[in-house]
Symmetry: C2
Subunit: 266 residues, 2 copies
């Protein structure tokens, strides 16, 4: 960021940066302590109003949400689905275990392995119920979302707040594909203090017209932005945002899930 401080243009704004030097996380690790130590080792501090985007994988790993495929016994349904989309039946069983419903099962001819679009028990609709193989650090294991990502976010937030004596926000992220659009973006799957959405209904636009439906998904904006510096192939699972204009509230990533009765694409 050479040349930033000398430029009047950048006097205010938002800065985001991946926290460096976070070691690989293992089941049972105290993630809050790891982050606090990583920051302190570099004489870094957190400021009031900072928001951290945290890739769920480090939380899931610390919480032991890693399953060895060898320990999974696929059901008949898992075997059936596995055949349809050419997946390991044990992976399909892990997906079914995390899902309330399979929304679509698909394998295109050009694909080696297909996809199950599933409704996760937490309500998110996403590929393979967010069950993931990459970055697990061990062969033949899968990693699941935290049991309660909001609760994980709150615990982490409170520990970091106590350590640095400031008020913070946490967004737990995962990387989702999207209908209609190519490429992956990070979305929010767990929140502490950070509003899911900003309700601008009733406010006025730049021309005095009352806004009726403008509700930016702040938590998803933060999650997507974190992808700009959260390299998948780097060990940078935590991104710090400084300078965001936000107000703390009791929030939940559940507020980002479109209710079934409003959803035209389930």
């Amino acid at each position: 960021m050479a040349g930033l401080a000398d430029d009047a243009l950048m006097d205010d704004g938002v800065v985001l940066r991946a926290l460096p030097g976070i070691p690989d996380i293992h089941p049972g690790d105290d993630l809050a302590e790891v982050l606090i130590e990583s920051l302190r080792r570099r004489d870094m501090t957190l400021h009031d109003g900072d928001i951290l985007a945290v890739a769920h994988k480090v939380i899931s790993k610390a919480e032991g949400r890693v399953v060895a495929l060898a320990d999974i016994t696929p059901s008949a349904e898992a075997h059936d689905l596995a055949e349809r989309v050419n997946k390991d039946p044990r992976k399909v069983q892990a997906i079914l275990g995390e899902s309330t419903r399979v929304v679509r099962a698909m394998k295109r001819p050009d694909q080696d392995e297909g996809t199950l679009i599933a409704e996760h028990r937490l309500g998110f609709i996403c590929a393979n119920a967010a069950v993931d193989e990459s970055n697990v650090g061990a062969a033949d294991t899968v990693i699941l979302l935290p049991v309660d990502p909001d609760a994980s976010a709150r615990r982490l937030c409170e520990r970091l707040e106590a350590a640095f004596g400031v008020r913070l926000g946490i967004v737990v992220t995962d990387t989702f594909g999207r209908p209609w659009r190519m490429g992956l973006v990070n979305v929010a799957i767990g929140l502490a203090r950070v509003p899911a959405r900003i309700d601008m209904v009733g406010e006025r636009d730049a021309f005095g017209r009352v806004l009726s439906v403008t509700m930016p998904a702040l938590a998803d904006e933060l999650a997507a932005a974190s992808g700009l510096v959260m390299g998948k192939s780097d060990k940078t699972p935590v991104v710090l945002f400084r300078g965001i204009d936000w107000q703390s509230e009791e929030s939940s990533a559940n507020e980002l899930i479109r209710p079934k009765q409003e959803d035209l694409f389930r």
Copy 2:
């Protein structure tokens, strides 16, 4: 951004900031000249590798893509759809004029006015074919997407590059709703030089495992991030990103559209 420069944590990273002092844009305005003057008036410059996210509305307005409802004659189809979703038939006609197909037409009992999910002639699937009323600055008009947002982005990029003697990237944004998730996020609808997606297939994750499907939608990450500082009710339609790690290429927002044959939710 007080307190940033004195903190070792922020020595590198990404900075984003809304460009201040951009006046209201009118049909026929030279947007590039307006931006150049706005920057120069504040002794600001652009740096090599800077990316600008530009809300399409200022481009659409400069290009005269504003239509008075009084000038629109609704077709029979528009009248029919308008009745189903309780919309002004002239607005529906404007939507149909921008669309190749209506994907869903819906009005919930709790809504005053419903929504047409449409496939825009540019390929994007979005509410009301991106035809918008807010921030137009005049009553009873609608604003349409630019005719060719990639071309608009390229023209603007070249003008700014020539003025400041640097290489830049442009992401033209609009604000879209999403299936499954609540709240709005900005997405990329036009690109100059900025890759739509980063192809990480074949790269290795932090544990040496070869990544098979990881393709971050860089342009959409930038668009979504721009929403963090692009207030809908403020006149801040242009957001500067500095510090992004990217490589210039010939790109198009069309690369962000999921091909019909891969799309399970049309």
